[in-house]
Symmetry: C2
Amino acid sequence: MRFTSEQRLDDGVLEREFTLGEIPGTLWTPGSAPAPLILTAHNNGLPKADPRLVARARYTAARGYTVATIDAAGCGDRPRSAADEQARAELRRAMRAGEPVDEIFESFVGPLVEKTVPEWQTTLDALLALPEIGGPVGYSGWTAVGIRLAVVEPRIAAACFFAGGYVPRAQREEARQVTVPLLFLLQWDDEGNPRQRALDLFDAFGTKEKTLHANLGGHTGTPWFELEDTNRFFGRHLK
Amino acid sequence: MRFTSEQRLDDGVLEREFTLGEIPGTLWTPGSAPAPLILTAHNNGLPKADPRLVARARYTAARGYTVATIDAAGCGDRPRSAADEQARAELRRAMRAGEPVDEIFESFVGPLVEKTVPEWQTTLDALLALPEIGGPVGYSGWTAVGIRLAVVEPRIAAACFFAGGYVPRAQREEARQVTVPLLFLLQWDDEGNPRQRALDLFDAFGTKEKTLHANLGGHTGTPWFELEDTNRFFGRHLK
């Protein structure tokens, strides 16, 4: 892990860009240590530098968490194959047209999840090797990656998943194997995530300790107070 | 409004029993005034002295809210007619047997809601006439009564409803007229409240600012942190 830049923010949080092989990432550490670590895996369509994602990470770090994010393979600003670009375009077109997207989604996002999870594990190894980072470890964000990671990675102690209307078949089937405490956050009118599928997924999770939060509005309309609720959820399970 | 007893609790909260005509109630006022008022209307099958209800009211008052509850007509320790007792027994029997309960429910709970709401309005008038109580006013608890009260009573500024699987037809139809900020709390496996009906009710509320919280488990299994979340919800809208 190689740090390429750093800046100290007003509230004492240290924000550092890093690379780990081909993986670019950002690490936020709060002024006070030791702090629980939260891996925030954003939706594959956004770069990790998206202002809303950065604002959330800084807010969370200022409240006493170490936060890390990466652009996983094929995501964010990472190179994309011509086939990936074509699949993304086709997915967007089909969604706009209101056509069924399951097959495109399955053939495109399924492999993306398979490639992303090992990169998160590599990142987690490197993060926990840093002297300033301990545990325990939480996961927040992209549902499909989080399911797989929670199933294969025993170091994940609690998870917050967002949306989850479209999730590859493999992860829908793995959902019952998720046994860590879970906060499942969805937008009631999410234009890209069918509500009933998200509710079915919540029902399927194997954990005994799961909470659903839903708010009115579209995919990007999550109210700010849900970030505070997420931090409190991690506070109950990681602190 | 006549106070019949009072005790000062450890955290400075004053707990007073009162009667208002035939209505028995309890009022908790925090050490610091003025405080927003929360009307907590419990399920009609419980008395207001139920230890879990009292614990929640004390907890909320200790966090800076005035809390009031009553035993409404035919509820709690109030006299019940032979017809009411028979309807309650029949409802319990049908639920245990897994038989449809809509008609019993409609004919029994519908009129109960109609009788309860004016008693809450009378109580609210009397409470707001006390020098130590101002506003704004929130409502927490029994869904059907809360819907009717939120529709007919402009002094209600925010509401938290619990369960809501069985709600009389009149209130299901009025749900779209509820326009105050709303927190809707349900138990995912509530044995007495069909999940899909509760989700449909959440969908029907007319308010633009509504949040759903659901947790695994049966009717009485709501985790304690939801009480903290409810207090924060009221904090955002009443303080």
